[in-house]
Amino acid sequence: MSDPKVFLNGKPVEHPHEDHHHVTPVWQFTAVFIALLFLTILTYAVSFAGLGPASLPVAMAVAICKGSLVVLFFMHLAYEDRFYAFVFVVSLIFIAIFFTFTLFDMSTTDELNEEAGIEFQRHVMDQAEALENPPEPPPPKATVGLRPRPRVRPRPRVSTAAGTEPQAPLHPRQRGLGRRPGPFFFGLHFASGLAALGGGGQRWLRPTSSLKAAREGGYVAQNAVGHRCGGCTGHGAMAIYARSGVFAPHIGVLRR
């Protein structure tokens, strides 16, 4: 082909970007396939070893190795234009955010519910059912030595014993949030402060106008430790988050 031209908005482009063709040698595909086969057999064999709590991280590590081999070599991502890798990695980052936030919320709401005396209906029903008919131990299966140890710790529940006055459950926000500080709360606190104070933060969050309103309106953010703040930009931003309900379970907002 004799010097084909690429046009952008009707004008010729001098050095147009084009993908180059990369032909992977067959031995490389074969090596990757053998590695994948080996890892599959490894993860299959390890699953019989009964690693207990370690089995999930081990299996995930092997699966991530296998997935990277497939993506890098079978899907050619290692030799492609970097932009495809960028698109792919960005979607992985979003998946990570999706997982982290949801699972973190799962693990913290339990504690908050407990504190406020809120119980899931299914827990109450399950407990009542268990009291009525104690479960018979299941008959032992023919397979020996493969059954997992139960790893569940019974969760302490806020129970209203007969005789004590049942108290109306207060939401943590009503009670002034007196609970143990967790690393997440400090993290959120400092991260929001840094994000809003940093030059980039102003541009990402654009909280200036509503932030000003929040500060002049005298909203104060109170975090879970009971520490009140409202003076600086970061804390004002936190108050806005809390008011908008995004992090409402974790941060209370009071009027100054």
Binding site: M1, S2, P4, K5, V6, F7, G10, P12, P16, H17, E18, D19, V23, T24, V26, F29, T30, F33, L36, L37, T40, T43, Y44, S47, L51, G52, S55, A59, M60, V62, A63, K66, G67, V70, F74, M75, H76, E80, D81, Y84, V87, F88, S91, L92, F94, I95, F98, F99, T102, L103, M106, S107, P138, P139, L146, R147, P148, P150, R151, V152
Partner: protein, 223 residues
């Protein structure tokens, strides 16, 4: 577009669509589109994987006991079948790049056959589950078949059928896509300059493989 774009009309290869200036440009846009699609596939499956982890967090004992009923060996066999099909698919793309029409057709056929083997193994797995009443929701009837599974096991089987079912739908679609590529390969449409359709079908097929790589240990193996 200015009239300059049509000066080279006589040099334009037949497979270059009219809205692209060069083959390289056409290829880049096709690939970028495919990668974006692959990412949305991952995002879709990630929701189901998250559902699995939430269920695991809420009912660890139930999930571990219920997943013991899945057939590890058949799952492992299917993993190897899919990995092999991915291997032949990658070789097929390479054959298209090197103008090797015969090898391209052969590798595509092997890939399609592997996809069918996967579905047949899946059929046996599913029919065993249906036979034993290990089904989602109200269909769950394990107790009538002599299984002592914990409460809420039906939720695990709901998740199992949703995840493997959605993956199975992708395998069926993959068979269709690969057959279409095979027909086009038979018509000698592909060459070392024009193989992006083969490569994109390959990316789709590898995504199907990638999802299974994570599905298999989580559902079948992890205790």
């Amino acid at each position: 577009m200015s009239s300059n774009a049509h000066d080279h009309d006589e040099e334009r290869p037949w497979f270059l669509a009219h809205h692209f200036d060069t083959v390289g440009q056409q290829m880049s846009s096709a690939k970028l589109g495919m990668w974006l699609f692959a990412c949305t596939e991952l995002l879709m499956f990630s929701g189901l994987f998250l559902a699995y982890f939430i269920l695991r967090k809420m009912y660890p004992e139930m999930l571990l006991t219920a997943s013991e009923e899945l057939n590890k060996t058949l799952g492992g066999l299917n993993t190897i079948v899919l990995l092999f099909s991915s291997y032949t698919m990658a070789l097929g793309v390479r054959a298209a790049q090197t103008n090797n029409k015969k090898a391209l057709e052969r590798n595509l056929i092997i890939t399609i056959v592997c996809a069918f083997i996967f579905l047949i193994v899946k059929y046996f797995e599913y029919s065993a589950k249906i036979h034993h009443g290990l089904l989602p929701g109200d269909l769950f009837a394990a107790a009538e078949h002599g299984y002592h599974l914990p409460k809420y096991s039906k939720v695990f089987y709901g998740l199992y059928f949703t995840m493997t079912g959605l993956h199975g739908v992708h395998v069926v679609v993959g068979i269709g896509v690969l057959t279409w590529i095979l027909i086009r390969a038979r018509r000698s449409e592909f060459s070392s300059q024009n193989y992006v359709a083969v490569e994109n079908a390959g990316i789709y097929w590898h995504i199907v493989d990638l999802v299974w790589i994570f599905l298999f240990p989580l559902l079948y193996l992890v205790k």
